[in-house]
């Protein structure tokens, strides 16, 4: 394989988005090159999911621009959005599996949409389901799956189409250590195949060990990017931001009245 040329596959420029009284994304700038693996970390409510949602253009910025491949948020239309979405694989934080479709059908649907041949669909789905350890559940409906199993189906669906860029929102939140490692291995392999990966997670310690680029989001702003982050440091920052939100007027005594006989 020839050495890959470095292109920017996704870029966010001066993005702002206001979401009601309590939250806004402010002046977000970030670029992802093809083949890059980026962790997006930040405390609960920092805006990770919102930022990803903008990237797959389920929501539009108030100002600024998002560019994904040839698609530009300010120019994209109803007609071009499906093309954009087919470049992107998305693992949703809440999975979004279709309830009345089996595991197989859920994944196959995402491939049918792009007009993939049935024989190829069967082959791909089999392989990916086997990889995430759910091939034996291919004919089950999502409601009969455990939380972690649903999450793995969501991941399988996102990677089935060999997207150019994968947006994974907290893809290991319901997984045990081993399943997490398997999923990360899968993501790394897909990444090695040329897919850019942007993975949102709250697990700063896990992320730390891989030496990949880490973007730290806090209160709707990018607090750090690219520089290595040290766990202790981020811990402090998180504590700060989390604590500042939480009203501290509560004393232990207040909660002490939970007591009962």
């Amino acid at each position: 394989m020839s050495p890959r040329e470095q292109r920017i596959i996704a870029g966010i420029y001066h993005l702002s988005k206001d979401l009601g009284r309590h939250f806004s994304l402010t002046e977000i700038n970030l670029q992802v090159t093809n083949g890059e693996f980026v962790f997006l970390v930040g405390p609960s409510g920092a805006g990770k999911s919102t930022l990803l949602r903008m990237m797959y253009m389920d929501d539009r910025p108030d100002s600024g621009q998002i560019v994904v491949g040839p698609y530009v948020s300010t120019r994209v239309t109803r007609k071009t959005i499906p093309g954009l979405r087919r470049m992107i694989g998305i693992v949703f934080q809440d999975f979004r599996l279709i309830e009345d479709r089996t595991v197989f059908e859920n994944i196959a649907l995402a491939m049918k949409v792009t007009g993939t041949q049935m024989s190829e669909i069967k082959q791909r789905v089999t392989k990916i389901l086997t990889y995430v350890g759910l091939y034996h559940k291919r004919h089950d409906f999502p409601r009969t799956l455990s939380g972690g199993e649903q999450q793995r189906v969501a991941i399988a669906r996102a990677v089935a189409n060999r997207p150019s860029i994968l947006l994974a929102d907290e893809p290991t939140g319901n997984l045990d250590a081993v399943a997490t490692r398997n999923v990360l291995e899968l993501l790394f392999k897909i990444n090695a195949g040329g897919t850019a990966v942007l993975m949102a997670t709250h697990d700063i310690e896990m992320v730390q060990s891989f030496g990949q680029r880490i973007i730290y989001l806090e209160n709707g702003r990018i607090a750090r990017d690219r520089e290595m982050i040290f766990v202790g440091d981020v811990r402090d920052r998180m504590e700060e931001s989390s604590v500042s939100r939480r009203a501290e007027q509560l004393s232990d005594h207040d909660i002490g009245d939970e007591e009962k006989e």
Partner: protein
């Protein structure tokens, strides 16, 4: 759209139909029963119209002749009558025939005519107007014109009764139209919204399809096909029930008219379109960018 995409769309529709049998059945039954009401109303209207038509077709104009006319004059009058615009048939009724007919009309009371010393009835022509010309204005104009002719004593067509009947028929038509409009709108509303509810229930499916990059056509067409199928199933249900009602009713009202085949076919097509449109417009909300 290539063949494979078309196949996937049909797949989608089949899966949807299969997975939600209960909900689909209820939707089809709701729609079918609503349509039944519409189509029964149409049949009642059809029968009313044919009844009114038949009644008004029996309308005749009587041209009474002066006593003791020459044959030629009588024949000339007949020819002139037949030459008039809007006249279908002209037949001669002699005074004796007229008395016999009158006797029949009177029925039980006809013995009253036994007392007559001589037949007081004149010879006459019975004139049958053509179908489209049976209005009180036209009949009055003919009457006015022919009354002036030589040898014609009087022209009558039961003006008072005819006008009253005409008014009644008009009233019935207006009310029928008003009712029809209400029923029609109600049924459209019910069907449209029933289809809409079945689409709304699959909101998350639609959302997910959008997010994995399905084109609007890919999402929409299976739903539209499904709506059309539901419409067709519902209309067939309505037609089956209508046939049962017709069979039952015509035992008691032998003259009952059934809907024409082509009208029924049109009805099925109409319902298919209605179902498809219901799906289509329900999805417009979700398929916005």
């Amino acid at each position: 759209m290539n063949l494979r995409t078309a196949r996937y769309m049909i797949d989608e529709m089949m899966i949807n139909l299969g997975r939600r049998k209960g909900a689909n059945a209820i939707a089809v039954i709701i729609m079918g029963l609503s349509l039944l009401i519409l189509i029964v109303f149409l049949m009642v209207t059809l029968n009313l119209a044919s009844l009114i038509d038949k009644t008004s077709e029996e309308m005749r104009l009587f041209v009474y002749l002066e006593d003791g006319l020459e044959r030629e004059v009588t024949q000339k009058i007949q020819l002139k009558l037949m030459g008039l615009r809007g006249i279908d048939e002209v037949s001669f009724i002699s005074k004796d025939e007229a008395l016999t007919e009158f006797r029949e009309t009177l029925g039980e009371e006809s013995d009253l005519l036994d007392e007559l010393v001589e037949n007081p009835l004149p010879d006459a022509f019975r004139v049958k107007p053509k179908r489209g010309y049976i209005t009180s204005e036209f009949l009055a104009s003919i009457a006015a014109e022919t009354e002036k002719w030589e040898g014609v004593e009087e022209v009558r067509f039961g003006k008072k009764w005819f006008e009253r009947g005409e008014r009644l028929a008009k009233g019935i038509y207006i009310i029928d139209l008003a009712l029809g409009l209400i029923i029609f709108l109600s049924v459209i509303f019910v069907i449209y919204n029933t289809v809409r509810l079945t689409v709304l229930q699959r909101r998350t499916t639609i959302d997910v399809m959008k997010l994995v990059g399905a084109t609007n056509a890919f999402i929409r067409i299976p739903f539209i096909l499904e709506g059309a199928l539901q419409g067709i199933a519902a209309s067939l249900l309505a037609i089956v029930l209508l046939t049962a009602i017709y069979t039952f009713s015509s035992r008691y009202l032998p003259g009952l008219v059934f809907m024409r085949r082509d009208a029924l076919a049109g009805f099925v097509v109409f319902c298919a379109i209605l179902g498809a449109l219901g799906s289509f417009s329900a999805m417009r909300r979700f398929l916005k960018l």
